[in-house]
């Protein structure tokens, strides 16, 4: 019988512990399973009884690669329960902080995790021997993102400045001047990175994704907007749970999210870009077009180019924010705790990050719900493996394993978030 099981025992160059199992029948992939065995850390349980002011710092610890995303979703959710709306320079600084995280996280993925797939290396560090300039540029770009985080937040990982109502401390205008100089270099480096990645070879793998991302009337989305899809979904973040189901499957410690109206969907750079192309700044739009992208990108392998375009946008946007920055009168507004429900969705580097908190009159959290982007993308990743995996089945085992890993890595899964290594397991029967 020409049936077999293909296993990727360990998925590498991804964040967290996971594996892949493919069930092959008559030369076709019948089932593809992304297996996640990251130990559950039970954040939604341990948040109960904590003070609302602690939500940003505690949830940041879900992910060391995108702590700002957790801080942003948490702080905006809590603020929505309290009826606080931040505006002006404080709102702009939160966008700037997020720019830093996008640059740092995307530059890491592009340079050290994803590019080695296209150029045939086991790691970015191996790649550096023959592509030293590209690797150094990518690392310096990553550092520019980290510089934003360190300046606004005190440190790159788990920054300490985000506070309900604003920030604990905001920078002086003059503190931002040296950062702007580094970001001008970074914007050029990002432009070069778009060109570099656009020259890679991409397999012909397009499919009709259901994309889900935030949309904002005037901005490329970070912290605000309605949740929209290319299939007509257009809802406020507060309606998320009415439209999206999370179910638990035995093979995964991460819950699987599905649209009630239509199954698997994809969040993240491809979705954000395709739903918001016209909101990118002119330099980012031009670079995307010059790199051969249209206003919509449906080839997951090309996500590396889209990430580079988003890095370029984030550098450009950071420079705009710094140029327009005026120091606020106060770093944060005062508030009185009150009971209520608070919901927010923001755009983590990997996609939509949903938080909901129920808060008691004493200002403590009584219920928490967090839906990370990788949990939402699991079903779409499995669909990619099923659709695109078949054409790679004739490859020798090692190359097949590498292709399957790449099919997962295309979406930069963050498995620590969703609940490291991918296991490839191919079952033929």
């Amino acid at each position: 019988m020409p049936n077999r099981t293909i296993r990727v025992e360990q998925l590498t160059r991804v964040e967290g512990e996971g594996g892949v199992r493919l069930l092959v029948r008559d030369g076709r992939i019948e089932r593809a399973e992304l297996r996640i065995f990251e130990p559950p850390r039970l954040f939604e349980a341990l948040l109960r009884g904590r003070e609302l002011t602690e939500a940003p710092d505690i949830t940041a610890r879900i992910c060391g690669i995108c702590p700002v995303a957790y801080q942003m979703s948490a702080v905006h959710a809590v603020e929505s329960a309290l009826g606080i709306e931040v505006s002006g320079p404080v709102r702009a600084l939160r966008r700037l902080l997020y720019c830093g995280e996008w640059i740092e996280s995307h530059a890491l993925h592009i340079t050290l995790l994803h590019a080695p797939d296209f150029l045939g290396y086991a790691s970015g560090i191996d790649m550096a021997r023959e592509h030293p300039d590209a690797v150094r540029r990518g690392l310096a770009l990553k550092q520019a993102g980290n510089d934003i985080l360190a300046l606004l937040g005190g440190r790159e990982i788990h920054p300490v400045s985000v506070r309900v109502g604003g920030f604990y401390r905001v920078p002086r205008k003059r503190d931002l001047a040296p950062l702007a100089e580094r970001l001008k270099w970074a914007r050029e480096a990002a432009l070069e990175t778009v060109r570099w990645t656009s020259g890679f070879e991409f397999p012909a793998c397009d499919r009709d994704y259901t994309f889900v991302a935030l949309r904002h009337p005037a901005e490329y989305p970070f912290n605000e907007g309605r949740i929209a899809s290319n299939q007509g979904l257009d809802i406020a973040p507060g309606e998320f749970e009415a439209h999206i189901d999370e179910t638990q499957v035995r093979r995964s410690t991460a819950l699987h999210a599905q649209l009630r109206a239509g199954g698997a969907y994809l969040t993240g750079p491809l979705a954000r870009y395709s739903l918001n192309f016209e909101r990118l700044s002119p330099i980012a739009q031009e670079a995307a077009r010059a790199a051969g992208l249209t206003a919509r990108c449906t080839n997951p392998f090309r996500s590396i180019v889209v990430r580079a375009v988003e890095v370029l946008y984030a550098c450009d946007e950071a420079l705009r924010i710094i140029a327009e920055y005026e120091e606020p009168e106060a770093p944060a507004c005062e508030f009185e705790p009150r009971s209520g429900m608070g919901i927010a969705a923001t755009e983590a580097p990997r996609g939509l990050l949903y938080h909901r908190y129920r808060i008691g009159a004493d200002g403590t959290i009584s219920e928490a719900r967090i839906v990370p982007p990788t949990a939402q993308n699991q079903a779409a990743i499995e669909e990619d493996l099923r659709r695109f995996g078949t054409q790679f089945l004739r490859l020798p085992q090692e190359q097949l394993r590498q292709r399957c890993e790449q099919l997962v890595r295309n979406h930069d899964p963050c498995i620590s978030c969703a609940t490291h290594f991918l296991q490839l397991e191919v079952l033929e029967r």
Binding site: L42, I65, G124, I157, L255
Partner: protein, 260 residues
């Protein structure tokens, strides 16, 4: 010139954690490629595709032990490692996920999963040193990347790492910062928390929240009296000690005083 085989072999292992501490290694941007020259990054799944094979001269371990499988895995890793260094609050104290140690694990799991029976987890989240001998513990949530480089350099040179064990309070004083506790009446764990972060929270006008765990001789009783004069109730004090290093002995003991 040394051949690649002569380089010490470094491995990076992950248990229950956020990945932030091993990311600190990748955040050493200017030094990363130099590090790649000095060491063989023999096993680092986050950054490189390479199978687990042979013996490792230095193992960096991130994360806590919270599942039966991980409790077995760490024993196997210890056998493969000449030196084993734990990095971060999860690996050195159990991390924020050790809050389960003070709760009912079945209730906790049922609060998150519809089918708790599918989930295999231990009732506790514990430090690596509670399971195997550890050569050095580097504190922090996350670790400080300069301290991480110091630890790696020290092991390459076969010396003890120079990592201070005094309090955040001492750092604040030596940096000439105004005390947020005394001057602003802000609750601060700086007097009982180990330095390492650069005393960043007081610099951001907030109190230290204990990322580096208890310093070598923490006077939690004296701090407790000072915090009580600020009007902090027991629930607040309990939360203050029960965060990222809740299961570190001095913080756990102090928190238990406020638990009833």
């Amino acid at each position: 010139m040394r051949t690649p085989k002569a380089k010490p072999r470094l491995a990076v292992w992950k248990f229950a954690s956020c990945d932030g501490c091993q990311l600190s290694l990748l955040d050493c941007e200017p030094q990363l490629l130099t590090l790649g020259e000095a060491l063989e990054l023999a096993y680092f799944p986050e950054a490189a595709t390479a199978p687990m094979r042979g013996h490792y001269d230095l193992s960096l371990v991130e994360g806590s032990i919270s599942t039966p499988r991980d409790a077995e895995r760490i024993v196997a890793i210890r056998r493969r490692s000449t030196r084993l260094v734990t990095i971060g609050a999860c690996a050195t104290a159990g991390g924020i996920q050790a809050l389960r140690n003070f709760a009912d694990i079945r209730e906790f799991t049922a609060a998150v999963y519809a089918h708790p029976a599918y989930i295999r987890t231990l009732a506790t989240s514990t430090a690596i040193a509670e399971h195997v001998p550890v050569d050095f513990e580097l504190r922090g949530c996350p670790v400080n990347k300069r301290q991480l480089l110091e630890v790696i350099s020290a092991f390459l040179a076969a010396r003890r790492p120079a990592v201070p064990t005094h309090s955040v309070c001492i750092d604040c004083k030596s940096l000439g910062r105004a005390c947020v506790l005394v001057a602003h009446g802000t609750a601060c764990l700086g007097p009982v928390t180990q330095a390492g972060c650069g005393a960043i929270c007081p610099a951001f006008q907030r109190g230290c929240y204990g990322c580096y765990g208890p310093q070598e001789s923490p006077n939690t009783l004296a701090l407790g009296r000072a915090l009580a004069t600020l009007g902090l109730d027991r629930a607040h004090l309990l939360r203050l000690y029960r965060s990222f290093n809740a299961n570190a002995e001095a913080f756990r003991t102090e928190s238990e005083r406020h638990a009833q």
